[in-house]
Symmetry: C2
Subunit: 463 residues, 2 copies
């Protein structure tokens, strides 16, 4: 079907004004008088809707007028400028065909619905202004991230989802199995016989592609992953989902400084791209969802990110302990209140905090010479706190092995990972960006359930 | 670290010739005489390696000379043209630093290893020529697909991986659970109590994002998914993996013709993009993996795809039944031998086969007026057979409901899907492209295990 999109009409209006066009879309509102009527239609290609004027010279004037919100129509008519009106132009219709009617019980009437209600109709909520905006921005942000890395020659790696390793503790992982749950095969000792499972052993859903990603960085030098990850955490918050997407770049011949440069450039790129490609959506968020959004994002793009060590940060924060619910002291993990204080009150721009105590960070982070800290880095941004966590990786075979032993990690599970330090080890670093966290930051949306098309959370797996 | 990539040296050689440069990479081969030596180094940024000449005026000449294949080095020196040699230039080194040595038992020595062997070291195989080429092409192909859809205004939708619905029969799906397998909670009747599971019900890994994707197409008009899907099929073939990536576009206000146009444009785009961006890799495949590859791919890009109905195709094939292991007759599914005969012998170019018997296709496909066939389409390409399967979707509420009833599908499981036909239904269509199948087609690689970084197949889930 030869339809022009509403986006195309807005972007190249001069080419279409006073010409005949055909558009297809869904009715957002409709009102009629005796001899003519107005339809506001949206076709999903553009945030702004299009007004259609129809009239009683059409054979199906009555049929059109009784259409409900949500109905799909195809309209042929002339695009006419409307300099006096709010919208720049409208279509004076010659023909309106009903593609698909909308039943009277259509759940999205022309009024404001609560986000809570809209979560119960996740298959229809992308038809509302807010969720059109959210999910277009989500799409653009995903693409911006791909562009950013591909333009820099990074190789996109699909790390596996189903994993036989158990890197961060099985308690948080989802088991994957094809065993008959009603009749589990058993070993002689009564335990479950996983040798009969699909993969011949216990398997779970991954919590991170990083370790696999590192193997590819040691071949391609600069790689990134972008795929789903899973946490079976029983936490019912506005920031946790059981299934979410992560971006995990990994760079060889690179240290913590290179890592921070990459993270800063990436954040600025994705913000700039979305502001440029979706100005209507971003203005909508700024007006109706989060008043300070655009100013905050512009500030991020225009700032040089600050840098502070964890030890310096603790110094600063502990002088202001009276302002915090959780008091800080050296060795403690930073809470969101501390992170936001640093980035919003102290530095007034994004800030990298580096060199955390090794006890609160993962085994694979590079040990600093002080024996106490590791070359970790978190990026804190105003309005949210931590948005990125990363580190330089331990590239020394003996140090890595010793640290694994201290933490009772089984060497046989990490043979491949140790191999990377045995055969052509390089200084290397990487970080993780939770994609939903990023979309929340870009849109000002406060609940992760409202930036995932079909969210999976504790006791919730609809559609 | 300020290193220039080898790709940059090859792409912008004139800017670097006779200047000092610093590169980092891994040794592919090394040989020395008493006073100087040659190192061939690859940094993962470019398929062609770079030759380094070093000499005994360096303090660490002995240390360099004893490095093994696989060692990581950083080289500073002058880029010098070598018009007499096979390679266009080399670096005459002033300094070679060993970043990380490679132990003598490095599994990748300078000889040809079998793909079977390399599968056992999936963390190291991307360092070989073949797998550097495969996984760079995989990355470029993924990006090309994103570019194709984004340039056309499609919205990228992340459909869920964990699903509570069971669209294609639970036998083929992986169960996802956090229940204690050694002590499953039970209902009074002795069955497993899934109300205590993480999501409060039975959940599995998705086999397709299509139904979810359709809900977004009815909001955004043109969408695509690109994410992992799973099949727990116990089939140990060269073409099946338990975990693989799929691209599933879905377009509203569109019919089967639009669907075919989109599929043809997409395939041509991704082939062209990869041939343009990775000519060295593609020449390598054409020389060492699949001799007819480039000619076959060029033919696809330059052809107008043919179109034939299933009924016509059966006519053609049944006249040649003596050539087939499986004889065809109307109503049967096409086997690869039939598909390849059609595209390679009959049409000698890609061909769309449309309007299959409804009995061999899915419930959601649009019923044709003949009462026997549905508006399905498969795209067959030379060398492989089916690469894309799709259809126009049934957009009529009553027809869809009747078909679901015939097939004993529970209406309560598909309420959201029926809603799409109740509230502003549109003609719409879509298709699925198995991404691994696509990468195999682009590279000529014959086994799916060799185009997935860390393949998951029956009894195999390493790393």
């Amino acid at each position: 079907m030869e339809l022009v999109t509403i986006r195309e009409l807005f972007k190249n209006r001069d080419g279409y004004l006073d010409k005949q066009v055909t558009v297809g879309g869904w009715i957002r509102s409709i009102r009629d008088s005796k001899t003519f009527g107005f339809i506001v239609v949206n076709d999903g290609s553009y945030f702004e809707p299009l007004q259609i004027v129809y009239h009683d010279k059409m054979d199906n004037f009555q049929e059109i007028s009784k259409q409900n919100v949500g109905a799909a129509i195809i309209v042929t008519g002339t695009l006419v400028a409307t300099p006096q009106a709010k919208q720049p132009f409208e279509i004076q219709a010659e023909e309106v065909t009903v593609e698909g009617a909308s039943a009277p019980d259509y759940p999205l009437q022309k009024k404001r619905h609560s986000f809570e209600y809209l979560r119960t109709i996740s298959h229809l909520r992308p038809r509302t202004n807010t969720f059109q905006a959210v999910f277009r921005v989500r799409s653009l942000a995903a693409y911006a991230l791909h562009r950013f890395f591909q333009e820099r020659g990074f190789v996109y790696v699909h790390t596996p989802l189903i994993t036989g390793s158990d890197c961060e503790g099985a308690g948080e992982m989802f088991r994957v199995t094809t065993l008959d749950m009603e009749d589990l095969p058993k070993n002689p000792d009564g335990s479950v016989d996983y040798a009969q499972d699909f993969f011949g052993k216990e398997t779970s859903l991954t919590v991170s592609g990083q370790l696999n990603g590192e193997t590819y960085a040691q071949a391609f030098r600069s790689i990134y992953t972008f795929g789903p990850t899973f946490r079976a955490e029983n936490s019912n918050t506005t920031r946790h989902a059981a299934e979410f997407w992560m971006i995990e770049p990994e760079i060889a011949f690179a240290d913590l400084e290179d890592n921070m440069e990459l993270a800063e450039a990436m954040l600025k790129y994705v913000i700039s791209y979305v502001m440029e490609q979706a100005p209507e959506e971003m203005n909508f968020f700024n007006s109706f969802v989060d008043k300070g959004l655009l100013e905050r994002l512009k500030n991020v793009v225009e700032s040089d990110f600050a840098k502070v060590t964890y030890t310096e940060a603790i110094d600063i924060l502990s002088k202001n302990n009276d302002q915090f619910e959780y008091k800080v002291s050296w060795g403690c993990d930073l809470q969101t209140e501390h992170e936001r204080y640093l980035t919003e009150q102290v530095f007034k721009r994004p800030v990298f905090v580096t060199d955390y105590p090794k006890e609160i960070k993962a085994f694979y982070m590079k040990q600093n010479d002080d024996g106490k800290t590791v070359a970790a880095v978190d990026c804190l941004v105003p309005g949210i706190g931590e948005i990125i966590g990363g580190s330089q990786r331990e590239d020394d075979y003996d140090k890595l092995r010793a640290r694994m032993k201290e933490l009772n990690l089984k060497e046989e599970d990490y043979g491949f990972y140790l191999d990377l330090r045995k055969y052509g080890s390089t200084r290397h670093a990487g970080f993780g960006l939770g994609f939903e966290r990023c979309v929340m930051y870009l849109t000002g949306m406060a609940n992760i359930r409202d930036v995932v098309p079909f969210p999976r959370t504790v006791k919730n797996c609809e559609l």
